[in-house]
Amino acid sequence: MAGCCEGTGCGCGWSTSPTSTAVWTTWTVDADNLVWENWNTPSVTGSTTYNGLLTDDTIWYSWNENSVTITTRVQQPRVRVPSEADKAEWARQKEAHRQREAERARAEAEAKARAEALLEENLTDAERAELKRERYLTVESRTSKRRYRIHAGQGCHGNIVEVDNDGRAVASLCCAPRGSIPEGDYLLAQKLHLEHNEEEFRRVANITPRRTA
């Protein structure tokens, strides 16, 4: 830096009269005390010249003589435009999913039909008629002679009701085969157990009394 003005006309004490090539280091103080950012029109010689007054936000980006235009980089939004290959892959995946769902529905319907056929094979005519009419089966234990109603269309849990001779509910039983088997299968399973394996069935079942004695 060249000299010091001792405060004349400025607030910091630095002069504005560079006389060397180190002109860019000349600082002036303007009324706003923008020492760093305020560049004067050059009045110096040397390899470096300046074009005009550069204020705060331009100082960094403004170059004299061989001025460089600084372009602002605009941040593009991150939007991925799907390509034709992407669209084709999505269509393929959608079709594969549709086929899997169709196959699953077909297998489920087939299992349901097989189970219903097995149940029908193992019912008497009277039992078939009752199931169709009342949507339940009445079964009797071979040992205790207790009677139960096995309800269809209610799922396999809590669908069994022990009834007295007058058909009034005595207790609810919740017991079914493990695993996911179709309705026809679990109805038949519950019937066979209550008829031929009642003691063990009642031991395993969750029994809830329906009325006081």
């Binding site: 097989r114 189970a115 097995l118 008497t124 085969p177 399973a189 157990h193």
Partner: protein, 85 residues
Amino acid sequence: MTGAVATERKVTGVMCEMNASGDTKVIWDKDSPEEVAAARTTFNSLKAKGFAAFSVKKDGEKGTKISEFDPNAEKIILVPQIAGG
């Protein structure tokens, strides 16, 4: 296996295993030791998994709970292990 293989074949027993697909049937000829052995093996395997076995008449007449494979049974129904809800 389902259905008869040959017209001269004498189908005497059928075993139905309840499962997610409805049921799987195993058929055996009581005069064929190989088929009886295969059916017995299947029966014992399912019993070991907790299945309950019921022997019933083919016309749906009431049957009985069994613990051993009966090659002379008309129909055996194998039910998965039960559980309380």
